[in-house]
């Protein structure tokens, strides 16, 4: 299993126990971080909207999520008559299990020494590395799709069809952004991606992929991953004003809690993945004290910053319309990610070729966008252009 030095001397009982402990710790850390994240999100949005927010359970209402979870646990578990019972019960698990598993490849710290063994602070470091995240995100599509279909009701079905189209569309852009990172690292392993970002340019600019790749793959990845998670402003799958509750309308009690858990777990995990891919992951300067604790601290600080960003986006941005969503995904993100990928590939060969391809991409991109925008001069990216007859009156 991967390049973890833990397994270099064969698998003994101690190694086995260390792996078990790592799995349990990762599981617990993720659950606790989700509890805190839900509280953090509600509290922060309340602050941004000039409300107080949850303030009853525990200090600053920090135990609110626990109280809500307990309440959901004791609620009646409803299954609609027209539902497909097996699939209806299966769907929440298809959402929540991938959300858990993705976290296993995130390096949350450097190397540590326990009981005479050296190990990486991550559950698994498989050679397929970051591809594992793509695998899990393609499995989690099923959770949403099947939840909507098996409910046997029209709003969930509409929500899940939207969500499926959205997740498949944005997976391509996400994959291309990841491919740029893999190209410059030369390895799929998340550990290698982090170690390749150690160091600085000119002594003070960190050698993050954010800077090494230009800012474009990061922006593409950020937008694509937000759409992939169905978080605002891409939460069309559960647009309350149109679809009641979206794909989980018919779900109640613990099954609803699982979807909720999966959504917030994805937020935490994907923030961690962004940090790993573009912001140096668990690397950073050691200031004082024990050296093993600083990578974990840097990791927490960077991930926390992205969690704050996600809450901020939720509070600030309105939801996209469906045609805008598809236009953004197919006509902007994928071409831009593909073009930038070509430029990075050329840069790997030589900087002359890189700049040559850059100029070529600019010219051909300009020509293409001009060609597709013929007769539609007011809006070159066709963002505001309504594609379906039904919504034409809105403009």
């Amino acid at each position: 299993m991967g390049s973890d030095p833990l397994f270099s001397h064969g698998i003994t009982l101690a190694v086995f126990l260390i792996v078990i402990v790592k799995v349990i710790v990762a599981f617990a850390v993720l659950l606790v971080s989700v509890l805190l994240m839900i509280w953090f999100e509600r509290k922060l949005i309340s602050d941004m909207q000039n409300r107080i927010g949850p303030n009853r359970a525990g200090p600053f209402g920090i135990l609110q999520t626990l109280a809500d979870g307990t309440k959901l646990f004791f609620k009646e578990d409803l299954i609609p008559d027209s539902a497909d019972r097996t699939v209806f019960k299966l769907a929440p698990f298809l959402s929540v299990v991938p959300a858990f598993l993705v976290f296993s490849i995130v390096p949350i710290g450097g190397m540590v020494h326990i009981f005479g063994h050296t190990t990486e602070l991550q559950v698994a470091d498989p050679p397929m590395g970051i591809l594992f995240m793509l695998v899990m995100s393609s499995i989690s599509v099923y959770g949403v799709t099947l939840a909507g279909w098996s409910s046997g009701s029209k709003y969930p079905l509409l929500g899940s069809v939207r969500a499926t189209a959205q997740m498949i569309s944005y997976e391509a852009a996400m994959g291309l952004a990841i491919a740029s990172v893999v190209l410059i690292t030369g390895s799929l392993s998340t550990r290698d991606i982090v170690t390749s970002q150690v160091g600085t340019f000119l002594g003070f600019i960190p050698k993050w992929n954010l800077i090494r790749l230009g800012i474009v793959p990061f922006l593409v990845f950020l937008v694509a991953i937000t759409a992939e998670m169905n978080r605002p402003p891409f939460d069309l799958a559960e647009a309350e004003s149109e679809l009641v509750g979206g794909f989980h309308t018919e779900y109640s009690s613990l099954r609803f809690a699982l979807f909720y858990l999966a959504e917030f777990m994805n937020t935490v995990t994907m923030s961690a993945i962004i940090v790993t891919l573009f912001f140096g992951g668990a690397s950073g300067p050691v200031l004082f004290g024990p050296s093993w604790i600083w990578p974990i601290l840097w990791f927490l600080i960077k991930t926390g910053a992205f969690l704050f960003f996600y809450v901020w986006v939720r509070a600030a941005l309105p939801r996209l319309r469906y045609d805008q969503l598809m236009t953004l995904g197919w006509k902007i993100l994928i071409p831009v990610a593909l073009a930038w990928f070509l430029i990075i590939a050329a840069m790997q060969v030589s900087s002359y070729l890189g700049f040559g391809v850059f100029i070529l991409v600019l010219i051909s991109g300009g020509l293409l966008s001009r060609a597709s925008g013929v007769g539609d001069l007011s809006d070159p990216f066709r963002l505001g252009r309504s594609r379906s007859a039904g919504t034409k009156g809105v403009e």
Binding site: S138, V161, Y322, R387, G390
Partner: protein, 200 residues
Amino acid sequence: MIDLLAVQTSMPDLITFLIAGCAVILGALGVILMKNPVHSALSMVMTLFAVAVLFIEQDAQFLAAVQVIVYAGAIVVLFLFVIMLLGVDKQENLAKDQLRGQRPLAFLAVLVIFVEILALSNGNWTSGAKATVLSTSSPGSNIVQLAQSIFTTYLLPFEATSVLLIIAVVGAVVLVRRSDLKPGRDPGEAIDLDSESGIK
């Protein structure tokens, strides 16, 4: 009778192989035996996923990832998408064949393929033992080896396949658009299956 102990198989490999192999067969049976198309599609996901597990068991991690991303993640999702959009998720009448003589021909085809596989296997039985063709000494080596064989030895078939796929895509677009090309209508509308008006 296959003598499993005769081949060099470690215990974890054998257990993984047996479980994943059973899942492959169960999923394949589910595809043809389930009455509901969505259940059939899900059984297919089970088969594809179990094949991915078999790949991992053979240390072919990249293939496993691609197997799940492409087949389970994109193709079967599209199947489901179409089933949901077209509303064919009801039990079909299986009493009469769509094409005349469909079933005997299908059995014949299965028989031919089965005999062919038996002939090709030539007494080599899969048992979960690791393949020895590729060396897996250094991490990531199977990705490097795959890339080298695709972009050197098999470059022409690889490129030809991609051209073939593009032709298929263009063909599908042409077929869909032709029926709706009426004057005075936005030609882009015809292929806009994703928009909300398409669902309603």
